[in-house]
Amino acid sequence: MATDVYTSGEPNRPESYGEANRDIIRVLLKPSVAYLALLAMSVATMLYGGWCWYQQIRWGMGVAHITHPTMWGVYIVTFVFWVGIGHAGTLISAILFLVRSRWRTGVYRASEAMTVFAVMTALLFPVLHLGRVWQNYWFFPYPNQRQLWMNFKSPLMWDVFAISTYFTVSAIFFYVGCVPDIAIFRDHSKGLVKRVYGLLSLGWRGTHRQWHHYMAAYGFFAALAAPLVLSVHSVVSWDFAMANTAGWHSTIFPPYFVAGAILSGCAMVISLLMPMTYAFGWQKYVNTWHFESLAKMCILTSAILTYAYSMEYFVGWYSQNPYEQAIFFWRADPSADYGWAFYLMVFCNCVAPAVWYFPAMRRNPWVLFIVAAIINVGMWMERFNIIVSSLAHNFDPATWWYYWPSWVEWGILAGSAGWFCTWFLLFCKTLPAVAITEIKEMIPPPVKGSLEGK
């Protein structure tokens, strides 16, 4: 990562609309060896995860170490992790669109794609966790003949609605945003590729009528997606907070989870966009200005998380509830089963992001990349810490035990990362990973005289 191209401040814009087209379309040309190697690694990891899942289907849930009392293990931890990753995309694409934030333009398309693929990954886990995958349709609300009616008072049912709505709205928002850019790809390609892009662009022509209604619809999509940023992870947090399990039953969970989700999502955007920017030579479109803005989002949400971690302990102590006190003190005991998980979480989510308080540190690409990776690890550990420690150390001491994931669970976790990376890598080479039309909106329009009075 050369630092000479790593300038701060708003990046230099392309000089013309045509230049913006050519810069982004260039990425679609023949893939490099490094790209193909990364794709092969991702596919191989995904296939390994699939093979581990096959083992679970063939031999039963016994190959995973989830058992009483830790009935929720790596699968639910990873489910919450991927849902959280998806948050930053909608935050950047919807909320920052509504507040007209300028730094959003360069990074929002890749962030939206990340959201869609992260939620696709998260959606695998309830099915994986179910064991009997052929009965996964039981998740959905339908009046059936077995008298098994859905209980809409259950937070798990709310979660089905929240995640499926989030995925649908995010996917629509992502695709609608891509349509005019896919039309550009169509007009710059030939043969079968042109036909495929032609179909995907829905025959977009860029007429005044299309732009008028499209922009209105896009604004409404942003307004509809914005409350989902706050609601989805709040609903996920209620999966825990509505239970009376010590360490879960807390009213601070919704804001605590939302802040954590935005922290992990912004860190993941840095992790994905940093190598992409250098590999594709997009410093003209994404530079320190964007990464620094993302780092500032991380600092804010890390501070909120640090406060939430402290408040959990304060509330545990102040409540004088012996079970609450016991679980929180046990979590923080370095010699206890999961003491290492607690301190790793605190280091990754509270201590490591603090280096970004120094401007030089949040402008250094290596520091940005490494700290973002640390946050990603920390956010997975946070969910592990919350879910596993509370279940493994529940009310009845006779049931306490030490949960450690089996090789099948680790394999499926790795496979989910492979699945996510495969989708993201395919997206980079087939769809506009930088929003061409919105980049054009930031370029002064070509004029012969003046736009005064027009």
Binding site: S16, Y17, N21, R22, I25, L29, P141, P143, W149, M150, F152, K153, W158, F161, A162, T165, T168, V169, I172, V176, P180, A183, I184, R186, D187, H188, S189, K190, L202, G203, R205, G206, T207, H208, R209, Q210, W211, H212, H213, Y214, M215, A216, A217, F220, F221, L224, P227, L228, S231, T437, K440, E441, P445, P446, V447, K448, G449, S450, L451, K454
Partner: protein
């Protein structure tokens, strides 16, 4: 040529390409002042100047689709939860209601957002005229998705051809073509 023969002449396509936004706006303005209708503007990006001169502040009807979708979603969310519970009227301890609106608010909220988004998509498809595969071939020009602007007439009266061409050229069009010459393919960049 008799008046009947002129009226029977088939309509023609006319396309003007502009490289500058101010010239395009001048062209639109002059067409409006001349009372000529039936034109379509093509642009590589949404520009508020174009929207203002054409729509003069009139909002898109897509908003009504969003509102209808939101209300429909909310209603479905309310009915799905309440009627499901009413079909299974368990006697709950502590006097808790069978139809409990507070927990159902979550499902109702999600259905409202989902309904709003789906109806907005439908509204955008209807009003944008998508899929646009069957639009006149002249209303597609690779130069427009690249960097230029355009004004297209797909059915201009033959009698107005001269007048329209003069207006479009006078506004600063870099190219004005008529008939089948309006269908254009640029060399491939890929």
């Amino acid at each position: 040529m008799s008046a009947t023969a002129v009226a029977a002449a088939p309509p023609v396509r006319i396309k003007a390409i502009y490289e500058h936004l101010d010239c395009l706006l001048t062209g639109i303005d002059r067409l409006k002042k001349a009372g000529i209708e039936g034109w379509t503007v093509m642009a590589p990006l949404p520009r508020h100047e174009i929207e203002e001169i054409i729509y003069e502040g009139r909002p898109s009807p897509v908003r009504w689709w969003t509102l209808t979708g939101g209300i429909t979603g909310l209603t479905i969310g309310l009915l799905l939860t309440s009627l499901t519970a009413a079909q299974w009227p368990m006697i709950l301890p502590g006097g808790k209601p069978v139809v409990a609106l507070v927990p159902y608010a979550v499902v109702m909220f999600e259905c409202t957002i989902l309904g709003g988004a789906l109806f907005t998509t439908l509204g955008a498809i209807v009003h944008c005229g998508l899929p646009g595969f069957f639009l006149d071939a002249a209303i597609q020009d690779p130069r427009v998705t690249d960097a230029s602007f355009g004004i297209v007439f797909t059915h201009a009266p033959e009698s107005d051809r001269q007048r329209i061409t003069e207006i479009l050229t006078g506004a600063g069009a870099v190219e004005v073509t008529t008939g089948d010459d309006t269908i254009y393919e640029v060399p491939n960049h890929a």
